[in-house]
């Protein structure tokens, strides 16, 4: 099923717990060398999907191919080609950063240089420290380092930058770009949409276990989603108009209203706006924006 270009193929994947579906008929491909971002709200089914691809969980139904194999049946040679950064890092025994990386390096046939990887995640000064004595963000960097030490062909990153400070996040992006330059295929989940926009080639947005959109990052939400919005206040109510010519609309408003329109804004929908639109309908109830507006009014 896996073609030369597809490193991951997922068809109609389903995973149920009791009678709730954590993943409910998801399909997508990841091409060789591509970075694919899986986006969606908490509980959408991202980690469940990733862990099925990693071989950690059994699927209820559907077809999955990862590097040409079924993750439920793949062996050690297959694992040697993967890099995994789990959402929750768990604990590590009493070992230092360098010991841990050297140990994991020894498990892979063609590992990266331990000190280079320590440098790449910015832990030179902590190389001799016990991992359990590191800060949360530093421990997360060890997870990333362990994920890439084996020079993976396919790298799974489940919310890798949780707890990173802004600078660490930037250098993480640089690291990922370097891996991309070497041809690594990456599956990334994140709640930071700027991160997805920076790193991703294509993205799938899932909500409640279903794929609500799947497109190159710049095209999510369809062609109309990024049309600018002109917003103003007229007769006490908020009005808005989607237009490719916001300046012309504003000029026409000035003519019609005979002056500066109240509360005039031109909004170019960001990836975040597009994303919220896409997952919005399903989660509007949870977030209860009406209640918020009422309290403010």
């Amino acid at each position: 099923m896996t073609t030369a270009q597809n490193v991951v193929e997922v068809r109609d994947l389903r995973k149920t717990y009791g009678d709730t579906a954590a993943v409910d008929g998801v399909s997508f491909d990841i091409h060789r060398g591509e970075t694919f971002a899986l986006l969606g709200p908490n509980g959408a089914g991202k980690s469940t999907t990733i862990e099925i691809l990693e071989g950690y969980r059994r699927r209820t139904s559907g077809e999955v191919r990862v590097l040409g194999a079924d993750p439920e049946r793949a062996g050690l040679d297959w694992k040697a080609r993967l890099g995994i950064v789990l959402q929750s890092s768990g604990e590590v025994g009493a070992v230092t950063v360098r010991e841990q990386l050297a140990h994991f390096a020894a498990l892979y046939p063609n590992p990266r240089d331990v000190d280079e990887v320590i440098g790449a995640v910015g832990l030179e000064e902590k190389a001799g420290a016990l991992i359990r004595k590191l800060s949360g963000g530093q421990r997360r960097r060890v997870d990333v380092a362990v994920g890439i030490i084996g020079r993976p062909e396919l790298l799974f990153l489940d919310e890798p930058t949780t707890g990173f400070d802004p600078e660490a996040r930037r250098s993480f992006w640089a690291l990922i770009r370097q891996l991309q330059g070497e041809g690594t295929t990456i599956l990334l989940t994140t709640h930071y949409l700027d991160e997805a926009a920076q790193l991703g080639d294509r993205a799938g947005i899932i909500a409640s276990g279903r794929m609500v959109d799947l497109a190159p990052i710049g095209e999510l939400g369809g062609a109309d989603a990024r049309i600018p919005i002109v917003r103003w206040v007229e007769q006490g109510g908020v009005r808005e108009e989607r237009t490719h010519a916001p300046a012309a609309v504003a000029a026409a408003l000035i003519d019609r209203l005979g002056g500066e329109p109240e509360g005039l804004e031109v909004i170019r929908p960001s990836l975040e706006d597009v994303y919220l639109d896409l997952v919005g309908h399903e989660h509007a109830d949870d977030l209860a924006p009406e209640t918020l507006t009422e309290t403010r009014a």
């Binding site: 995994i84 070992v95 063609n110 062909e153 690291l175 070497e182």
Partner: protein
């Protein structure tokens, strides 16, 4: 995250991934590597060092000091057998149980629930290498523990140690077979606790009861026959008997069941438990519960 990493090979052309090589050689090589990794981490763990590693040493000291006036038996020459002498074999056997079964059952249950095994499951580490690492950790720490016990008994409590090489030969095979069996049973038992937090509560009562009925803390010869027979089902009784056969004078054989050290019985009981442990491990061990 600053220094760029060097890429190997020409950019763009990804080298064909090298295979992992011969599975057996790789399993053994990584197993040996795991032993080093495990032993280092073990000794950095203050609480295990105290409660597992030094526990028999502490107990031997307590017994020797508390019963320093008491005489347990007499040798054929009419010399008193001190408490230290009498309890040395018992504590050696207890050490085997603690370094193997108790240590590993708790340790692996904890690694299962704290994510260590999940991490390893995602790596190309053969599960047998992981076991070799754990068994090796038990052997290394068990041997060190035995050396400390013997040194303490010999130098501080003046326990006469055997001079015949044959006895040390018996000690070597019994100790090794015992510690390996104990370690494998620990791996098998690690499947029982539902979480790392409950592991101690599940494992300690088992090891404690075994120690009481197998002649570690109480004199085996004082136990009623039926309890001796119950204890004979479990490996610790045989381990303790084996250690007595090495370190107590031969005339004390009259205190044993059937008035015999029964070396073939020791070998058989330990070997049967070893095989049972392997089968249980094969049936129950999982890196992770796949459906959780």
């Amino acid at each position: 995250m600053t220094a760029p990493m060097t890429a190997t090979g020409a950019t763009g052309a990804r080298p064909v991934p090298p295979g992992l090589g011969s599975p057996l050689a790789r399993t053994v090589r990584l197993g040996l590597l795991r032993i080093g990794y495990e032993v280092r981490a073990y000794f950095r763990q203050g609480d295990t060092v105290f409660f597992t590693f030094l526990f028999p040493v502490v107990m031997l000291t307590i017994f020797s000091v508390s019963f320093s006036e008491a005489s347990f038996e007499q040798t054929a020459d009419g010399d008193d057998i001190t408490a230290a002498w009498f309890f040395l074999p018992a504590m050696l056997a207890a050490g085997v149980l603690l370094s193997g079964l108790q240590n590993l059952a708790i340790d692996i249950a904890a690694e299962k629930s704290n994510g260590t095994l999940k991490r390893l499951a995602g790596s190309p580490l053969p599960v047998v290498s992981y076991f070799i690492g754990k068994i090796g950790q038990s052997v290394v720490t068990g041997v060190l523990q035995a050396v400390i016990l013997l040194l303490l008994a010999f130098t501080v409590f003046q326990v006469p140690l055997p001079e015949e090489p044959a006895r040390w030969g018996d000690f070597a095979w019994m100790f090794l077979l015992g510690v390996i069996t104990s370690a494998i049973l620990g791996i098998a038992l690690s499947a029982v606790p539902r979480s790392g937090a409950s592991a101690t509560a599940v494992v300690i009562p088992i090891t404690l009861v075994l120690q009481f009925i197998s002649g570690v803390y109480l004199r085996f010869s004082d136990l009623p026959d039926w309890l001796q027979s119950v204890a004979s089902i479990f490996p610790l009784k045989w381990m303790a008997q084996g250690m007595r056969s090495v370190f107590l004078p031969d005339e004390l054989v009259v205190l044993e069941q059937n008035e015999s050290w029964d070396e073939p019985g020791i070998a058989l009981a330990l070997a049967v438990w070893l095989v049972a442990g392997l089968i249980l491990t094969r049936l129950t061990f999982r890196w992770i519960r796949r459906d959780s």
